[in-house]
Symmetry: D2
Subunit: 358 residues, 4 copies
């Protein structure tokens, strides 16, 4: 286990009222390294002043956890964050807010782990879906270049030293962890395109009251959406160096609260044995404590990962050794958001990647 690293950290969470924010609060309250330094909880940046709200009125299920019943969610205030010597700020805020306020946080010497999509994409074209506007475009571009895509299994060393970590999208996390070992080894026939048929629980759509999150819409139902235009597509293209013709990503809405399962269809460049594929995955994740590679033909399923920080990966190979079906599962609020953010924080502090996450 990790013995090096900082003794502790002072953390802050902006946007604690949402699902990911609530999970983040829970993880930080239970983190052994942070037992004496509970996170500072603040509302969304720029929100009109409201009196502080008890954390447990927003998330009653947290009551009884250490510190939880004393913590309030206060209005956002840079002075307070500086005054309390915040080391790491988690931003569980809308991407417009994250884009606007990250420069200021960094200027105060605060490292940022941003859970929104604001800083994930380097290509202008891909980023258009977010319609970002920057007060200081030059600075924003500079910070964008500096930002590290916070998928620890792919970018661990860079994350450790990053000032700005862009926590990956939930769908992208599940798909990238399944594909990176194959694409990086040039095993994939890209001419036929990779098909990523992904399914997510309703929490992925957030807490806001929208028709597709109404119980009567989601329950007993299943539907595809954003077929050729989901925002996380850009993360797949950039992280795997693919063109949009080489990968098709289709999200679907599952009638469950939490969990993502991605079924990924890959044509291989040449026939290969299942044991070679297995070895490739096993080796790639030999030092990744939060990826569990299943032994083929076992496949992961959502209930094995829900409320855990793991990504489970399994696969099956066609009899002719040319077609591969990879299945990848995560909890969208944890490995797809909050626990991945804590995993990044652990790396940034020099702690063991999975500390506080089991």
């Amino acid at each position: 286990m990790a013995d090096a690293g900082l003794t502790s950290l002072r953390t802050a969470v902006a946007g604690v009222s949402g699902y990911a924010g609530g999970e983040l609060a829970r993880l930080l309250l239970r983190h052994p390294r942070l037992a004496d330094t509970p996170p500072i909880l603040v509302g969304r940046i720029g929100e009109s002043e409201t009196p502080p709200v008890p954390l447990t009125s927003l998330h009653p299920q947290l009551s009884g956890l250490p510190h939880a019943d004393e913590l309030n969610v206060a209005a956002f205030d840079w002075k307070q964050l500086q005054h309390k010597s915040v080391d790491v700020l988690f931003m569980a805020t809308p991407h417009e807010q994250s884009r606007a306020w990250v420069p200021e946080a960094l200027s105060h010497g605060i490292r940022v782990i941003d859970i929104s999509g604001a800083w994930r994409l380097h290509d202008d074209e891909n980023r258009k879906v977010y319609r970002l506007t920057d007060a200081d475009p030059l600075l924003a571009e500079k910070l964008q270049t500096e930002a590290v895509y916070g998928l620890p299994e792919l970018h661990g060393p860079a994350i450790a030293h990053a000032r700005l970590v862009a926590n990956p999208g939930c769908y992208a996390t599940s798909i990238l962890l399944a594909l990176a070992p194959l694409v990086r080894a040039n095993l994939v026939d890209l001419g036929c395109g990779i098909i990523c048929d992904a399914k997510s629980g309703v929490s992925g759509a957030g807490k806001s009251l929208i028709p597709t999150s109404h119980f009567m819409y989601a329950a007993d139902n299943f539907s595809a959406y954003a077929v050729f235009g989901h925002r996380q597509t850009g993360e797949l293209l950039e992280q795997l160096s693919l063109t949009s013709e080489q990968i098709q990503f289709t999200p679907h809405l599952l009638p469950i609260p939490r969990g993502i399962l991605s079924t990924i269809y890959v044509r291989l460049n040449k026939a290969i044995g299942a044991e070679d594929i297995q070895a490739r995955f096993d080796d790639f994740y030999a030092n990744a404590p939060l990826v569990r590679v299943r032994c083929s033909p076992q496949l992961p399923q959502i209930q094995h990962v829900v409320r855990t920080a793991f990504c489970d990966i399994g696969f099956q190979l066609s009899p002719d050794g040319r077609r591969l079906v990879v299945v990848s599962c995560i909890d969208n609020l944890l490995k797809g958001a909050a626990s991945q953010a804590v995993q990044n924080m652990n790396l940034m502090a020099g702690w063991h990647e999975r500390e506080g996450l089991l």
Copy 2:
């Protein structure tokens, strides 16, 4: 089957966009007596003018039913309703609208079946929860006196001749049908109070986007609400002639789309045999084609009534013959709203009560 009655009817539905309105449209489109006279569908009364909307864009699942793909939902317009000689207007509208517009409908010679709570209560005190305001209080009071509570099993003959039928609440329907046979026969020890522990699916809360109808709130959850103050309590008091100390009604939210199950606890005035209770229920509903009395100790369950027009009732008696548990189930959108409205229409037209409802 019924051969008497009118040949057909011209119906209209106001407020067809909600869940009850959609079910009403479905039932009317399939009603054998209305095969040549599809309902006129209109939006909420007083809504700002919008271009007509195809019915199937509001309720895609209705596509393919007779007439469904040609029908539009138009803006509300009294002239049009008169011009088309509408006989019966179903109002699946908020209670304020129903209260405001029923007098006008009646003045145009249109009979009304109102699905809201606007006209169900005769006692001023009970009605306060609705905060009704009347433009013409004297007329409103006169119409209120005339209004018939539309529970066909209790008020069939009055419904047949009514101009204004107040369709019962969904919880009240399930509870009244379970209790009326017992209370009317003076079997109940009212001193200890009747306990009605009722549970409803989420559609009971309607289509509007409210936090408690969000999938993440309702799914995998269960909760009590409105413990001493649900609006339908007044219906129980008036229809059973009870005081508020004599009956306790507690609604709960079930994580399912549709269905109500009420568990009702009754102390009896004297020890009695299960066969006598059974006979009481069987006799009471001998001519009620849409109540299915189960043979004790069999109990109804929600999946037996969902998507049917039936109310199922069953009971079990304590070994000492003094304590009775009655269980009553309905589909809240059907027997609790739309099919009960059609059942009332059938009676008003002189048709068989269950025509078009099996």
Copy 3:
């Protein structure tokens, strides 16, 4: 509506205790042409003698339907079926039973609609998954050649005159209706393979008590299964004249009672416009009353088809006009089993295809 055809039919259902059998009973009891000739209900063929069981004790939700409360499920008896002049026998029985008893039914002059997989496949190799054994292999082979695959939209005229109709699998129904218009028009680039990512509710696994149908396994979960070996794959290969390398079918288990959604990924031979694809689907199903083609980019979803006899189909095309995503939905117990069987019966009797199915 259809005026030709037989006046009525005498039907029988073997295996009425399962989910598809129950739905079949419901549809036949409500069928307008069969109002005076309720189906004869019998248990599984060869079951040890048990006293007749009331239909409503097996399916309490059917109580109150015409005839339902008088009908019993009797032991299977060929003499009785002949004596009662049964015209059409629905077999909702395990495939071994269907394979064994169809020859006898036909020898008695009874036409058969078999809901099992016993008679769907013509190719020996594809059929191996069923491990069928035939008492009279020559006769079985002859009958197999005669058997018509009961997908009315593809084989309507042959079904009308068939003695033996093999009702399609539920997954196969949803996929074939989506693909047939494209494959038959040679629009598909088969070199890259068609990907069929299909998801089904739990009723597809039947009523037997198996670990994967336990509530605790299925609820809040989602999983892939039978990745390279589902039995219905053979139906896809034969009906579309494909090789197993040309199509990949992966079923998944949805945490809902009913419904199938198949997401189908197709590479096109050449760039084509969305309006041409739309026209192809519209034309292909112009005379198919139980297929609803959605207008692109609208996509079907499960709740629009559940408890209906429809198959809904929609699609979206990539910006480069080369990659097509087709989504197809059915209720697995209806269009995937019972209502499709009734649709076939309608054709065999010369009635309108959708009679009794709206």
Copy 4:
């Protein structure tokens, strides 16, 4: 926090394959006091010899927890338990097994926490529902007298020194914690009877394949069962010193995996203020770290307690101050089984009651 008590313990779990057993394994693996002494896992007592099975093949979601991937579930063997100096044996076994083998465990000097119903009831009459047979009735009676009912909030000191702890039933836990403060203070009018309308998720019925745990039975459904005869009724009678006429307990099956909510209706002996009721609950549980008393009129709901070791209690009082509705929630697998067992172990070891349970 607790500093006294033993340094560590050697634990064993019999019957680890079920839901409660799996949760118990998870809690023990994560317990800070047991970090170096993982539990010994054994199958059901008396099971035919099978090769050891990896824990993670029974509970794949546990993979990655400390020790989890090395642990096997071995056949039951008293010698091994003695050899390994087991201090505390958790029995997550059927009640017949628990009844049969507890005497032997105690004779080996092993303390037992029994999760079954075998040792909870002292009254012969109440115990009849379990149909227990004892090889040595005198010894069994002696041990029964010695057995401590393992509800820590009521019997903490006795549990601390017990050799045999009978872990309470899940329903009984939720009801007793709600009623004990009221009944012990003689606030309840027992003449009218207490009504306990309780609702549980499906895991309460265990992992065995029974029709009522089939997804198709439980999903979208809700039903009452065992109305006048649930086995846990005896626990209520004995722990509250009531007669069967004084309390009515009706369990219902909720379509969710986990959680119990009990709605409890109490008539009070005299009118009383809500603040007095609140004070009574607050005082009673002032030192109970795993009971969260809500501030009236707030009520608990299932999603606030699921996957926690807490019991949440809230209440509302009628305007006349005579009728009380108390709502109590737990996770049936945790506070209703596994975490309560660990809470008992903590007391037996002299550790803080909630150690390892947050």
